[in-house]
Symmetry: C2
Subunit: 295 residues, 2 copies
Amino acid sequence: MQILGFPDSEQPAQALARHLGCDYGCVELHRFPDGESRLTLPSSLSSSGTLIFRSLDHPNDKLVELYMLSRDLRERDIPRLGLIAPYLCYMRQDTAFHEGELISQQHIGHLLAQCFDDLITVDPHLHRTSTLHEAVPVKRALSLHPTTLMAEFLKTWPDAVLIGPDSESAQWVEAIARHSGHEHGVANKQRLGDRTVRIELPSINVKGRQLVLVDDMISTGHTLAQAAGALLERGADRVDCLVTHALLDRDAESMLHSGGIDKLWSTDAISHPSNVIALTSLIASAVSDLAESYR
Amino acid sequence: MQILGFPDSEQPAQALARHLGCDYGCVELHRFPDGESRLTLPSSLSSSGTLIFRSLDHPNDKLVELYMLSRDLRERDIPRLGLIAPYLCYMRQDTAFHEGELISQQHIGHLLAQCFDDLITVDPHLHRTSTLHEAVPVKRALSLHPTTLMAEFLKTWPDAVLIGPDSESAQWVEAIARHSGHEHGVANKQRLGDRTVRIELPSINVKGRQLVLVDDMISTGHTLAQAAGALLERGADRVDCLVTHALLDRDAESMLHSGGIDKLWSTDAISHPSNVIALTSLIASAVSDLAESYR
């Protein structure tokens, strides 16, 4: 088995290969001024089963490159080809929210399933789709959850209260609290307009306490900032955030700041200065489950 | 038959539909801050054969979007689906120039052939590949040449001399001159390094005359600028350029300027301020050849 990384995933890909004690190579990437990509395989390439490691934030260039790479490796008779994408793109457009909208989740899922035999990802944003396999119909689709890693991280603050900012986040908050024993609750988010939401806090006494908002991802930071504002208004001493995917828009940090959030913590699913939890061990154990097929 | 455009191809797509007297719709495109694309079909969509009009400069986002769109339209039982891409991407990486390099032309050609039944393009950059169909194995692959349109445009300067800057451009220069009757010649380009070329001019007396450099595309502008410099040194009065594809890098205009080039003229295959030749009529006649299959 070998792991292939890209310049944008070199560090976690290499850490994973080291952890597993398997071969590692980095695909060389050049982007021309006209927007085309040129890929060069590492000279160390072996013909064993191959897992490509690449997180799929800002995905379009990456998808075209993965398409080319997967076809090239198939032509070289690589026996099995998998993708490790800690962040999986295009999962949010899982229905036509307005007439005529394309359901990108299905199309991109089909593209990935065409390229790869297997997929490993972390906390995919699945709402109206019940399983990862339904979204990305590969042979084996493994969806990992960094629950125990997050619980371990939060042990430093045993008295903190964990809050999910909306009902969708209940599953993460409850799973973490089950491991860590933290007090926890879930807020209720009502969307009043495109950028206006009302947050109803759970009935927990937050006065003078440290709160940690827990969610699968942050993009605009709007919901988390609103929830933090509401908690501070109720007398919370400090509010931090812990997310799996730090998919921050340009203005998200100032949004978090304006909401009074102290620290943002994230896993390294998407590379970002807020990364505090490495997913290496979690992904390594999933790879071990697949290892039989990749010898 | 209907033509579908994108916001980036609206003007030429609409002009083509008007010229052909067929239905036209524009696909709505939204790019999210996280780099994902959302497409919305026009409400006027019919279920007839469909030609999508989109030039493929800066192609990666566009390729992902075309993949999604083609799958969506197939699901709606559109009977035949074609692509009109006046500029066709990824044709230059048609071999591994260094060990391990992926041959992008083949992979992207395969992707396009998966999405579309037919392809219409203009002056594709084919060197080591002998036919367009070999590069993009669709049912019908039509490669158009704006020779007569360029000859028509150059009639304003009957005494100009047409020069191809290298042997690869000989085919365009000779074809245009055959129609326009201009005196013409072809220079010889020797590549001395990554960014150094030596230009050997043809034995034509250029003193005091207007020269027009003719090529299929301009990207860095380096070759054209060098050729212009050599012509002006030999006493040329004025040097202009005429190309099919204005695929200019960021520094190309200052490169042309430093080479002493007066005007850059191009077709509208890629939208650019230098566009002076509309390809509508040329593309319309090719569409008419396909029309039988698109009723």
